[in-house]
Amino acid sequence: MGDHGHHKESFISKYVFSQDHKMISKQFLITAIFMAVIAMMMSVFFRLQLGFDGEKFPILESIFGEWAPDGILDPGFYLALVTMHGTILVFSVLTGGLSGTFANLLIPLQVGARDMASGFLNMLSYWFFLVFNIFMIVSLFVEGGPASAGWTVYPPLSALPQAIPGSGMGMTLWLVGMAMFIVSALLAGLNYIVTIINLRTKGMTMLRLPLSIWALFVTAILGVLSFPVLLAAALLLIFDRSFGTSFFLSDINIGGEALNYMGGSPILYEHLFWFLGHPEVYIILLPALGIISEVIATNARKPIFGYKMMVASILFIGFLSFIVWGHHMFITGMNPFLGSVFVATTLVVAIPSAIKVFNYLATLWKANIRFSPAMLFAIGMVSLFITGGVTGIILGDSALDINIHDTYFVVAHFHIVMGASAIFGMFAGIYHWFPKMYGRMMNNKLGYIHFWITIVCVYGVFFPMHFQGLAGMPRRYYSNSFFEQFSIFDEMNVWITVFATLSSFVQFLFIANFFYSIFRGKKATENPWESNTLEWTTPVDVGHGNWPGAIPEVHRWPYDYSKPGKEKDFVPQNVPLEEGEVDGGEH
């Protein structure tokens, strides 16, 4: 490829139809931030309904018009908001946004490549992703409103416009948009895999890859193997909706009319959905864990503990994630024996997860911790991962799931272990690699305020929800007023809403810091965190092609922090081994 860096590029090819992985990474990030703000505001709006049931908020009417008559959300629209909140956060922010940003930024830079294997496919993957997001936004304005059947869009609810208004045009857009998203994910994933396998620089063996790359690698494989199944489900659902087939529908009598569907099974859809859906939560989680592995090692000034076990855990988690999907379906009438199998596979996932936590803790032991905002968010993620991980052991047990399936216990569990935790990983990544992306530093002090208020709010919002779930409070309820027994939670619901609102306002502090620093932040130095990985060997204003000269050669693993007998407390990967020096943490 040679020296690409100093070509004169037009505005369009540089910022819009860019094929430079670093620019594509920024495009993913900005898009994800934009979508995250929308989804977050939605959560504030529906939390207002849950916290202050029956109260009028004129602002809701001015924003949503007929969907919030007199300032009270319409029940159907409440479900639409919940559905879009979930869809946008899961797919736009934490799948496309998280992987798109960091796989694009880190893979070529950390393996020592000039760009992705195919810059063109990479560009296409962003544009398909953008189309998906546009579909989601457009669907907010169509007749009947956006998809409202929950982010899992189970048929028949999602198949029949008679069942809920959102299953009309909104649902069509959701499904077609999802097809676009899957195309994006597949193009991106293939590219990531090929790049990691083929374009590593000299000396970058697989076991010298930073854990971030291992995580992104396994994530890409999961995506490539599981997204096609969701595509199949979406297409079959489109057929059922529009062309009268009966893949998922049977024996339905709705709105006083018996429909002609026969022989289909909604449970089949659930199987197809969760065959993606479960790997999906690892597609979200693994990149975040990869990010914090780098951030923790760099800022603890210490090698990540048990590197090989970490790699093995990632691989094992990736493998297991394909054989646990049934834990979402224990009470669907699925054969109970099959349920037993899924119990066993599910609980086994806790083993590699526990190993990862222990290794992070051991990494912090006798460290020399520099609390950059990235490090705070990384430690915060470990904290959330512990809290949310342990409750998975309860939900994975079919006998216990009977009583807490689809209650607020589940909402608490997945928000902590996957939602907030991956968002924290994403924040850690943004604060850490901001200097690489924009050549400037973010404001640390604002980062500290951002972190401390956010973590308190996250626990304030989601921890109490465990108790609501254990008391039998179902999720996806517009109001609890129909069930006298839940009035005991009225006060708790107010507090949850207060914390949720506060936490979303604090995110604007981050956003202000982010955009302000892009233009006005202090100029960064080449390796501000004194890190070992290759991306920090590129110049600050790095052009297309990454290294102005030759690509650096790699001589050691990425975790030589505080190695005895060295002058500095870090030794970048491109520094040759001294005579007699052993690589890979032996000394």
Partner: protein, 359 residues
């Protein structure tokens, strides 16, 4: 009004921008650098980490204690206590690593914050340690798996009881529950979703004599205490989920598919009122699967009472066929019934099978 909101938001963002600028200038004047991680940043964040950890654990303990009273009362079914016990044991087992890991995390973050003269200890792995912390979770989790599966097994396949199992059908539809009792012949008559019309909420097929004495009730169900019941679930439109939290029972209602759950209520509604000191207490079926706009309103009253009271109540219920309403049903559905009769056989076979697998 709409535009006004947007203007306010934009102005707010601009104000935020300016505030940061002012803040930065003032920091610059004070000579501190907001982009550097300073010695005092490390110290304060380390301390805060410990404070947060302890605060969080204290809050967790506080909430466990104060919200205890909000949780479900002890189970009202025969299999329930087993689930409650499993839940308790699991909570203890996960509680230990939960507390321990948080303490360690908070402590390390505090004890090892960066300061002048501190050096990190270069250690990359330790096979013995790693073996231990792989082996322990493995053993504990396998024990939990076996315990959990044993409970699952005894919940799904309860030991046979002497007296006959009562069969009640529950139909979910937007946004109501309907129950059906087999009547004197102890056999539920054939139903067909195409026959659901007007007052024939269950789609009873009157060609079938077994259906003639079936009793159909909207929004209410009575069960005799200490007698095993098998609830058979159906849905007429979308997926619903019949959730009876007090009995530790839940099962999805899926259109086109028969599901069921077998259990034995052990406390009457009256018992529960006394136990909880709440005259208004009632057992309910909630809908626990998103099923449409009014999902949150879908409930059914469940009354558990003595065998006598139950029989008395049942005797007072009108048989659907004999009731005024059934006359509304047009008889010309015969043709339709014949057309779909093959399918009905399929359905009844399916329910046979369900009887064998008990779920």
């Amino acid at each position: 009004m709409g535009t006004l909101t947007y203007i306010v938001i934009v102005l707010g963002l601009l104000a935020g921008w300016k505030l940061i600028r002012v803040y930065e200038l003032s920091e610059e004047l004070r000579g501190s650098d907001t982009e550097e991680v300073t010695e005092s940043d490390n110290k304060w964040n380390g301390i805060l980490m410990l404070v947060m950890t302890l605060g969080f654990l204290a809050m967790a303990v506080y909430e466990v204690i104060t919200y205890q009273q909000f949780l479900l009362p002890p189970a009202s079914s025969l299999h329930g206590p087993e689930i409650d016990m499993l839940l308790f044991v699991t909570f203890v087992i996960i509680g230990i690593p939960f507390v321990a890991c948080h303490l360690v995390l908070g402590w390390f973050a505090f004890a090892y914050f960066m300061k002048e003269g501190r050096e990190a200890y270069y250690v990359s792995h330790n096979n013995r340690l790693e073996f231990i912390w792989t082996a322990i979770p493995t053993v504990v989790l396998f024990a939990l798996i076996f315990y959990g599966l044993a409970v699952w097994d005894s919940v799904i396949y309860p030991t046979e009881r002497e007296e006959e199992t009562l069969v009640v059908e529950v139909l979910g539809k937007q946004f109501q529950w309907v129950s059906r009792y087999p009547g004197d012949d102890d056999t539920l008559g054939v139903v067909n979703y195409r026959l659901i019309e007007g007052t024939n909420t269950m789609g009873l097929d009157m060609e079938d004599p077994n259906a003639h004495d079936d009793i159909v009730i909207l929004g209410e169900m009575h069960l005799p205490v200490n007698r095993e019941v098998r609830l058979q679930f159906r849905s007429q439109d979308v997926i619903h989920s019949a959730y009876l939290p007090h009995f530790r029972v839940q099962m999805n209602c899926v259109p086109g598919m028969a599901t069921s759950f077998r259990f034995t209520p052990t406390k009457t509604s009256q018992d529960m009122k006394e136990e909880l000191g709440d005259e208004k207490f009632e057992y309910l079926i909630l809908c626990n699967k998103i099923c449409g706009s009014a999902h949150y309103t879908m409930k059914m009253l469940v009354v558990v009472e003595s065998e006598e009271d139950y029989n008395k109540w049942l005797g007072e219920q009108k048989v659907f066929y004999a009731s005024e309403e059934s006359k509304v049903i047009p008889v010309e559905t015969l043709a339709e019934v014949e057309e779909t009769s093959i399918e009905e056989e399929g359905t009844s076979e399916e329910s046979e099978e369900v009887e064998n697998t008990k779920i």
